[in-house]
Subunit: 253 residues, 2 copies
DNA sequence: CGGCGCATTGAACAAGTGTTTAGTATGCTG
DNA sequence: CAGCATACTAAACACTTGTTCAATGCGCCG
């Protein structure tokens, strides 16, 4: 289970070597920023052979997508109790492979490669299942909109990976370095346990505003009203007066 | 303050039209995936004129970067009390521009354009200042590692924007649509107020483990030990046994 | 050994790339 | 009006792109 995957740069079949080289290149420079000849050179073959094996550059991309979905999601069909900790340990022990795969995944998301949708959906499903279990056994809080929360948590989980370049730059070491992984653990847990806000003032205000604006809290309900300004009716004294501060910060950025 | 920016697609100077077309193209298809002739065609000029005005394609990129930093971060030099709510309202009222700018910013991050570093640093500084004020006035919880928390919060804030394509697909409407913005508000606030975990069990365990592993909790301290496995010493019964679940989920993805 | 099939290649292809060059129009300054 | 800078273009440049083609080698099966 470990060895059969760690057969990475070595021999393997030639097509696999090409695919691996392509994943590395695509991940580092994007699909459009990578030429077949570069991939071919990395794999030690001719450009014509790449076409011979994969039909076209787009075919190569599809093969990379398929491989990555298979490799990252593995055989875990049941979203059940496959140990998350074990998975983490696995890629912590092999940061080289983790790095390449994550880079490719990030590139997939930017390039809007169709494979990214599959991967994101799998992640989202897994997160949803995890949250449901957590709520069921009482270890996690409930949510007013579990589906949306699952999307949010999934996005938050991906954030450090998508921004790994910035994090590495700011923190002074790669995201998958032991030092950074260790340093991130506690603050992340703190945030996931205590939240950010010390009191429920903003939350209560938002709830009240939404309650008064529309009758029910139906998620996908009518969307024809111009947009109820839950956000701008609180005093300007509080610097984080917006109920949705991260998006806000993002926006102004 | 509003009008001078909303002069978007219309006349303006020719160089500005080219720049705007480039931002749109770069944002949609990336730097490498965009040709000068496409940009030129969008702007209604010849490819040679683009070179004439910006020197080279790379020069055009730099001009786009500069413009975006200026446009998104505006004149807010002091990270002080410029109202976040006002900024949000501003781009909520102009989703078209917001979309383009955000797409370009996301592309900058993927392409590792140097301008992305500037923008991220500004965002991070702003987030840090916001957190410091929040802690000072008691509206926000303190953190064991404020600097890292600021990085985390910044990343979380950017996450929905970087994943806007996936969010839009899963939620059935664009991220900047009134329906989605409205729907995200409450769950986000809930998460930022209550956190995810219902009790401090995992947090306590992690703290204890770290405490016992290394003497102090110094952030950047010695990094020569192989990495203390705070993660794998808890029972397999809890599905979210890892102190750092989002990264974990990400990893296995 | 003969022959088939596959992996593999260098050379060539048309199309597209960023960039240069020479040239035309246009409007401002004297 | 002359002169000049500037905005702008079409055409060509050298080069790279993805892809094709004919050819070569190698191994397997009879």
């Amino acid at each position: 289970m470990l060895n059969m995957r760690s057969v990475r740069p070595e021999d393997a079949t030639t097509a696999a070597r090409i695919r691996d080289a392509a994943i590395a290149r695509f991940g580092a420079h994007g699909y459009a920023g990578t030429s077949l000849r570069e991939v071919a050179a990395d794999a030690g073959v001719s450009a014509a052979l790449v076409i011979h094996h994969f039909g076209s550059k787009e075919g190569l991309r599809r093969a990379c997508d398929d491989w990555l979905v298979h490799e990252l999601m593995g055989e875990k069909d049941r979203l059940g109790d496959t140990s998350v900790a074990a998975t983490i340990r696995e890629w912590l022990d092999d940061p080289a492979r983790f790095r390449t795969s994550i880079a490719y995944f990030a590139a997939m998301l930017s390039d809007e490669s169709p494979g990214a949708d599959r991967l994101f959906d799998l992640l989202l499903a897994e997160t949803s299942a995890m949250l449901e279990r957590g709520v069921a056994d009482g270890s996690m809080n409930d949510s007013s909109d579990p589906d949306l929360r699952a999307v949010l948590i999934t996005a938050y989980g991906l954030a450090p990976l998508l921004l790994r370049g910035q994090l590495a730059r700011v923190l002074g070491a790669p995201l998958d370095s032991p030092a950074v992984v260790r340093r991130m653990t506690l603050p992340t847990l703190e945030f996931y346990t205590q939240g950010l806000y010390a009191d429920t003032q903003l939350l209560d205000a938002a709830r009240a505003a939404i309650e008064s604006a529309s009758g029910a809290h139906a998620p996908g309900a009518r969307r024809e009203d111009p947009v109820p300004r839950v956000r701008s009716d609180k005093g300007p004294g509080n610097p984080v007066q917006d109920p949705d501060p991260p998006v806000g910060d993002t926006a102004r950025a």
